[in-house]
Symmetry: C2
């Protein structure tokens, strides 16, 4: 993997991430395909709307359909019929969400499957082995994602263990080889909850381990937005400038633009697809709830400037009808639209950085985006 | 509308139905788009898989989103973004399914909405007005769809009333004009339950009313298959040979081939889409339940000879995973596949008739189709 920065404006960066399966202009939004599919969107539609990389989830895919099956298929890309890059989350976040079903030890984390209750152990080494088998272009280290709020002693202990796990992942990566003939890179994950000195220490220690890229984890878990931005800043100030930075699980359009201003290059979030399935659509002028009666007789597209299949062919009135009638096509159209919006927004951000007009563009864009229903992560 | 028969073999006919919105080679299968969408399939995908005409339902669309809204949109085609022909069912079948919520009178049928319990009256004239407003290319008369089993006195009374309603529909059609600048034709519907003499009488009386085409209704409602075939035969023997014949709500692949052999030209059924959503897939060698463990490690397509998006790009193993994981993409791929299969089957039937090889082809095809899970309508 190669990362080149093409232009900067303040801390904001426009770059290109070059992988064995294609180039990814950054800043980039990565649609979430947890179980080997981006919900309600076909792979050819991901291509159509311009997705350059999608996410998979090691935890989910390990439990179902199982790693052995995906190996037999020739890796995750062949199994799901997607030829562009895939980043796999280690599943740390999912495992730690299972509060009642898991036990954290130095060795790793023991948990019960949310599907059938069976017992499993995820170690840093085991997770790298899984991600090798998946053949992900970008593998994520196993980390502990601390909850919010989190007291400082626990945050320190957890962040320290995450660092030891990161080194074990790094070592395992060196001991193993890429699968399926294409390079696999590894990102370390900064933790440290909402404590600036812990974040700084975590970022510094990880930087010394020479990862291919760096993620900022454990944010967007309930903390105030300002805290998220401050923690992001603390991390990007320390992380090596020549490596890509990925803010995990973030977020709203505004969140992403503020994080780009602070030096972040990569994002993922379920918001566009989940909101879409709940009839909430992003537009250039704020968000719309398509179930609202206001759209009943509106024969204009959701967003007249949008290039998605739905906006080119259907009206708000029709989309509202589909939602009211409980039709699957509503979920398809809304998911494609919201992903198109997210990808458009980040490509506009990139253009603004290239033109060294990002700050002004961002301030104006955040303002127009704030119309519509309250802009939350939920 | 113009209907030309291109070739026949015994009672089987290959023809072309020419409408103001395009030509429809027959025999034809019409995907069901009850609420203005074929469930889980995009309009451009209907085009891709070769659909030439789809169904809408006057009852459902009248209740939601309402006829006034569709008129404002410029008709059903513009509302749903589908430029090819639409046939609208009158909704008789849906109304009569609401046993507890409806009362049949000579004037029409009073019923309560299944959505909000509100009271409505459908008369033959009112239904034609609704179908005019929808702008359907083929309007269906209002009929009473008698249940199975049904005693003869009720069947006679019901069939006689359906004939009086058919005449009222025919008259109303003459008194009104096509909407949106494109011709609208009207089909009468033969009833008479499982009584051959009632069917014959119904078909003869309707024929005298000079409809643009004729449907055979009230079958595939629980009667034995042989009865369905016999009743179909009785009807097609009487109906004018120069008009298209439409066997409503039928059916399985075998049902359609047997009905073609008896002179039917048009079909609709929810089976391909509903079965698809339930993980049952049609193939050239019988039906497959994609949830079966047998498909878990099968990296071949559902049907290697099929041209659908799924069969060209994905494996049984992946599709099974999507079903097991409850992913929406499973419903999309399975629905597209089954519709592709249905359309392929009827286009093969047409080719066989054109080559005057239909009977041999049909017998061989019915045999190979009978593999797989029991071939039922449910």
């Amino acid at each position: 993997m190669k990362f080149s920065i093409v232009q900067t404006e303040g801390s904001a960066r426009a770059g290109v991430l070059i992988t064995g399966r294609g180039e990814i202009p950054t800043p980039v939004f990565m649609p979430v395909g947890t179980q080997g599919t981006v919900k309600a969107v076909e792979q050819r539609e991901l291509d159509e709307l311009g997705a350059r990389i999608i996410l998979g989830n090691a935890y989910h895919l390990y439990l179902r359909p199982g790693i052995g099956l995906i190996e037999k298929a020739g890796g995750l890309h062949r199994f799901i019929g997607w030829q562009k890059p895939v980043l796999t989350d280690s599943g740390g976040y999912q495992v730690f969400s299972l509060t009642a079903l898991r036990r954290i030890e130095e060795e790793g984390v023991r948990f019960r499957s949310h599907i059938d209750g069976s017992e499993h152990l995820f170690t840093p080494e085991g997770v790298i082995d899984i991600e090798r088998s998946l053949g992900s272009d970008i593998m994520m280290a196993l980390d502990e994602c601390a909850p919010f709020p989190c007291d400082e002693p626990y945050a320190r202990q957890s962040s320290d263990m995450t660092l030891r796990w990161a080194l074990r992942c790094r070592t395992r990566k060196e001991q193993t080889s890429p699968r399926y003939g294409i390079g696999q890179s590894l990102f370390g994950i900064v933790q440290g909850s909402t404590y600036a000195h812990l974040r700084e220490e975590s970022a510094r220690e990880l930087s010394g381990m020479d990862f291919d890229g760096y993620a900022i984890g454990g944010l967007s878990v309930g903390e105030p937005e300002e805290t998220m931005y401050r923690m992001t800043e603390v991390c990007t100030a320390v992380l090596p400038p020549d490596r890509p930075r990925y803010l995990m699980g973030v977020g709203t359009p505004r969140n992403m633009l503020e994080a780009i201003a602070r030096g972040v290059d990569m994002f993922d979030c379920v918001l566009p697809t989940r909101n879409g399935r709940n009839a909430v659509l992003f537009t250039r002028h704020g968000r719309l709830n398509m179930r609202n009666a206001a759209h009943a007789g509106d024969f204009t597209p959701v967003d007249p400037e949008c290039t998605c299949y739905g906006c080119r062919n259907f009206t708000r009135a029709y989309l509202r009808h589909l939602f009211k009638a409980g039709e699957i096509l509503a979920l398809q159209l809304a998911s494609m639209h919201n992903l198109t919006f997210y990808l458009w927004l980040l490509s506009e951000a990139r253009e603004a950085i290239l033109g060294r007009n990002f700050t002004a563009w961002k301030d104006a864009t955040v303002k127009t985006l704030s119309a519509g229903p309250a802009d939350t992560n939920q």
